[in-house]
């Protein structure tokens, strides 16, 4: 297509929108609602995943060895652990480090008292361990079983409850939002298709003349394709602008007014949210607009 034709098609596309303003606005409105919801759910899921990541990084699985294992045997167990797929990091905690940590936690570092009670004994002598963080906390159960199966492993301590709740909610929100967004996308597609059909009906005579004069398929279709793309683009940019302000306002308000929330969650900055959400929204909007009009023109504009 020539540049001059491109300009002509864009102009005609915009003209079509003006001609069917009411239907065009309905299409844009539905797209705005759809992509605004997409933005809301995306932000929720992203923040939940951020929280899950934080929990995941702080969640530690402790692996204890058989009593009396020497350094070489402990290292061998360590090597076996590292071979497992879901292992993020492995950190060796010797019996002395474990006891010092315990003293610090339980006796607030009161060395005199501890010495008076325990002397030089280390009650955790057989409690040297590997502290492991996992890549994917949802697969913790399987990994624990794999750890327990390693020769020389006496006990594996894990606490899965903390993250599982977040994972469950995040998955649920993900599925629900996907369902709602799909329904709304279908409605948007239908409305855009309707708008284009009306545009075609309004320009029926012009299209008929174009065809008889020798217009190529693409020349007849292009204005309608641009119309769909413009509707989709507008329908994706408006919710992005709204989302930008709403997200900043909401996260600011929650952090300021609800101490519980600010203690529990550290919100993802708006820039980070928009990094993927903005291109995704535009792509969805433009894509739905383009395919909505492509299907319609294919159906109604055969030369």
């Amino acid at each position: 297509m020539k540049i001059s034709t491109l300009g002509y098609s864009i102009k005609q596309g915009l003209k079509n929108i003006r001609r069917n303003l009411l239907f065009s606005l309905a299409s844009v409105g539905t797209m705005v609602a759809c992509l605004f919801l997409f933005g809301v759910f995306y932000s929720i899921v992203l923040n939940m995943e951020h929280e899950i990541d934080d929990i995941q990084n702080s969640l530690v699985v402790s692996v204890f060895f058989n009593e009396g294992y020497n350094d070489e045997q402990i290292m061998q167990v360590g090597n076996e652990i590292k071979k497992l797929e879901n292992i993020n990091s492995v950190n060796y905690i010797s019996a002395d480090v474990a006891w010092n940590g315990y003293v610090e936690d339980v006796y607030q570092g009161d060395a005199e008292y501890v010495e008076s009670v325990f002397g030089d004994d280390n009650p955790l002598e057989n409690s040297s361990s590997y502290e492991i963080t996992l890549k994917d906390i949802s697969r913790q159960d399987i990994t624990v079983k794999q750890l327990e199966a390693i020769t020389g492993v006496r006990k594996v301590n894990s606490s899965k409850e903390t993250a599982q709740g977040w994972i469950d909610v995040s998955t649920l929100v993900g599925y629900v939002s996907l369902g709602i967004i799909l329904i709304l996308l279908f409605v948007s597609l239908f409305l855009i298709s309707n708008t284009i059909t009306i545009g075609i009906a309004v320009r029926k005579e012009e299209i008929a003349i174009m065809k008889l004069i020798g217009a190529k398929d693409i020349f007849v279709r292009a204005p309608f394709l641009f119309e769909g793309v413009f509707i989709g683009l507008l329908g994706s940019l408006i919710p992005l602008v709204i989302m930008y302000f709403v997200y900043n306002a909401m996260t600011g308000y929650l952090t300021q007014h609800f101490a519980l929330v600010s203690n529990m969650i550290e919100f993802v900055p708006v820039g980070e949210v928009f990094k993927w959400m903005a291109p995704c929204s535009v792509l969805i909007g433009v894509g739905v607009g383009f395919f909505g009009s492509l299907i319609t023109t294919h159906k109604h504009l055969k030369v």
């Binding site: 001059s4 005579e205 008929a208 004069i213 020798g214 217009a215 030369v303």
Partner: protein
């Protein structure tokens, strides 16, 4: 060259609009195709514009064999055929200039060529001073001239005029026919489908007469035949 070779067109309803029609129109010829309502004139135009496919037979225009043409080749064929309609079919929301320019925009001509060629064409049809006016501000004859300008602006090989004088008074009819004759003298093949007896008899051109889908006569310098 336009060749119809044993063309039959039968609609799904069972109506046989054309029945084994054959004729040849040489390059640069002026031909009237006449016949009353239901004789198959409209079907013939639709076939020549490749809006419909014949149920039997073959159509060839300038070495383009219709049955072998791909869909994407149809626009190129239509660019070689300028069409004029009885009801003008002008775009009401565009000026005279824009209506003629539209034919060039559609075939993706550059804007500077459009600006150069449209005024010349409007001068040829005698509407140079009315380029800013809208169709509703023009008389029937003037509207048909705009339609004619739109049909010739891309310099087609063939002009296909479907009842071009059907909505015009005798004076305007004659003016349009004179214009078509001028266009023909410049080398363009002109095919006029009409039932305007006076014009046909006056012009003394080749006349192909259709009746109930069949060619009943084909005469050089013929006149309008009463079918009964």
């Amino acid at each position: 060259m336009v060749v119809l070779d044993h063309v039959t067109m039968e609609y799904p309803t069972g109506t046989k609009a054309l029945d084994n029609v054959s004729f040849r129109i040489k390059k640069g010829e002026f031909v009237f195709i006449v016949g009353s309502s239901g004789s198959g004139k409209t079907t013939l135009i639709k076939l020549l514009l490749k809006e419909i496919k014949p149920t039997d037979g073959e159509i060839t225009v300038d070495d383009r064999v219709y049955s072998k043409m791909k869909r994407k080749e149809v626009p190129m064929l239509r660019r070689k055929i300028g069409v004029v309609f009885q009801n003008f079919r002008l775009l009401k929301d565009r000026t005279v200039f824009e209506n003629v320019a539209f034919a060039q925009q559609v075939i993706e001509k550059p804007a500077n060529e459009i600006r150069r060629e449209v005024p010349g064409t409007l001068t040829m049809v005698g509407l140079a001073d009315k380029y800013k006016q809208f169709p509703k501000e023009l008389s029937g004859g003037e509207q048909q001239r705009v339609a004619l300008a739109r049909a010739i602006v891309n310099q087609p090989d063939i002009i296909l005029a479907d009842e071009p004088t059907g909505n015009l008074d005798p004076k305007n009819s004659l003016e349009i026919m004179t214009l078509l004759e001028e266009i023909n003298k410049r080398g363009t093949t002109v095919v006029v489908v009409t039932h305007n007896k006076d014009i046909v008899n006056l012009m003394q051109k080749r006349v192909i007469t259709l009746k109930k889908g069949k060619v009943i006569s084909d005469e050089e310098k013929g006149g309008y035949k009463d079918e009964d």
